[in-house]
């Protein structure tokens, strides 16, 4: 990318990872219309994810799920001034090129859509726009970072309203990081092999005790208490997909989740914001889902 001022550098890792740093402590909400985007912004969302169908509808309607219509994405970008993210299919680098051309602020290479490549993920280094990718464990997170992801979200099980998988994945990533931190240097070679992750990244995580990028949680968060629990488990922030606009009172629930995320360690605040929110999304228990319908298993 060029500019009239040649000393400016665009699309560096620091700039791409930096936007995620600024989203920390915030809530990113799935929206399917400009009106929903406006409600999310008014409620205190730190960014919105523009898509045609929330995961719960993708789940119930079935079929191949793809990148959203550019008209919809542009209408949402025009409606709000907070960052707008959009999803590309795993491995679908042309959808990613299109989303970059549309000037989205972040691309989610997402298992919620149908994968376009069952072998390769997108080579994300070649883009100026940053990517967020899902992970169920540390090795998967580091493989995505090695491909250029500038932000990681634990996957959970999207579109269920069941937070148990989100809990499992954030706990898994955090405990694997803790385990690396306590290893002696000569154990890290085997750790890298077992994690199936690049050795240099494994050493970096062992030394710093954290991922080199921001770690959000996603997949099944439906209540203020769910969001606060993810934060207490060590997430830097929260994605809420179907949980807000599949509930009885989206504006109020959205604002409540934002407050509970900031005051995640204050049960009195969480209690207060949880009052009278109306119906939560009905949801599906992950244990009732047949294996082929589990989205978290997409991506490797």
């Amino acid at each position: 990318m060029t500019d009239s001022t040649s000393s400016q550098h665009f699309g560096s890792s620091r700039v791409k990872r930096g936007l995620a740093e600024m989203l920390k402590g915030g809530v990113i909400m799935d929206v399917v219309t400009p009106e929903q985007a406006r409600i999310a912004e008014d409620a205190g969302a730190v960014a919105v994810m523009a898509l045609e169908r929330v995961p719960a509808d993708i789940r119930s309607q079935g079929g191949v799920a793809r990148m959203s219509d550019p008209d919809l994405i542009e209408a949402i970008i025009a409606e709000v001034s907070i960052p707008v993210m959009a999803k590309a299919r795993i491995g679908h680098f042309v959808e990613a090129q299109v989303l970059q051309a549309l000037d989205v602020d972040y691309i989610d290479e997402s298992e919620v859509l149908s994968p376009a490549d069952y072998v390769n993920h997108i080579d994300k280094w070649g883009f100026n726009v940053p990517f967020v990718c899902g992970a169920t464990n540390l090795g998967e997170a580091l493989r995505r970072i090695n491909e250029g992801a500038a932000m990681i979200r634990s996957k959970g099980e999207a579109g269920t309203g069941d937070v148990s998988e989100a809990t499992k994945h954030i706990r898994k990533i955090k405990s694997e990081i803790a385990a690396l931190s306590s290893m002696s240097k000569d154990e890290l070679y085997v750790a890298a092999k077992e994690l199936q992750a690049p050795y240099d990244l494994v050493v970096e995580v062992a030394e710093t005790g954290k991922l080199p990028v921001v770690l959000f949680t996603a997949g099944g968060v439906a209540t203020p208490a769910d969001a606060a629990m993810m934060m207490q488990l060590g997430a830097d922030g929260v994605f809420v997909g179907s949980g807000i606009f599949k509930s009885g009172n989206p504006a109020q629930r959205a604002a409540a989740v934002v407050k509970a995320t900031t005051f995640h360690d204050d049960p009195a605040v969480i209690a207060e914001v949880s009052r009278g929110l109306g119906e939560a999304m009905v949801g599906i228990n992950v244990s009732d889902l047949a294996a082929p319908h589990r989205l978290a298993e997409r991506g490797w």
């Binding site: 560096s12 700039v15 600024m22 920390k24 402590g25 001034s81």
Partner: protein, 202 residues
């Protein structure tokens, strides 16, 4: 030689949303006694405050909802040293351009700041910036969906401009604001400059 025993300056970092941990880390490295501030009583216990990068519209909403906005305004007008980066600069501006519907700022800096002035994330950038008040080498500055100071009123002073002349750092008495994020680059001269204000005011 024994260093004189000087109490560490007590500096708060507004922790409603954003990269407050990065600022807290920098301030600790520089010897400050750091408190994360989300409540009025936490604000009352500090001698200076940093408002971090993040989403200004979210910070504004949470500050008002949780009764922090008025104590913040009172502290600013009472002379509390405050440094705002990016979203924090927006919070300190008397006038905010391109805010979301109903967005308010705390005010204090006699400037008009345009939110998200460079466009979408693909227009975010790094560059070297002369900041004469710091002396020495240019500062490496990271701009992330950054605001610019569109006009500087008579009470405020521009501290740095881009090559095209647009203002990206300002000062007014005990208030300091930058469009960019020194907390993510490892160059802590602006934080040190700010701590000088905190020590002088305490």
């Amino acid at each position: 030689m024994v260093a004189p025993q000087v109490a560490a300056p007590r500096v708060g970092v507004l922790a409603l949303q954003g990269d407050f941990r990065e600022h807290a880390q920098v301030l600790r490295v520089l010897g400050a006694d750091v408190t994360l501030v989300r409540r009025p009583e936490e604000l009352a216990a500090v001698d200076g405050l940093v408002i971090p990068g993040g989403e200004s519209s979210v910070m504004d909403k949470l500050a008002r909802t949780f009764g922090l906005a008025e104590p913040l305004r009172a502290a600013i007008s009472g002379g509390l040293p405050v440094y705002g980066t990016c979203a924090g600069l927006i919070m300190l501006a008397d006038t905010v351009l391109d805010g979301i519907r109903g967005q308010e700022s705390l005010g204090g800096l006699d400037v008009a700041v345009r939110r998200n002035a460079f466009g979408s994330q693909t227009h975010s950038f790094e560059t070297d910036l002369d900041v004469p008040v710091l002396g020495g080498e240019p500062m490496h500055a990271v701009f992330i969906r950054a605001p610019i100071v569109e006009s500087v009123g008579p009470a405020a002073t521009a501290l740095a401009t881009l090559d095209d002349g647009r203002c990206v750092a300002v000062e007014q008495g005990n208030l300091l604001g930058t469009s960019f994020h020194p907390e993510v680059t490892g160059d802590y001269r602006i934080h040190e400059y700010f701590l000088g204000k905190v020590r002088a005011a305490a």
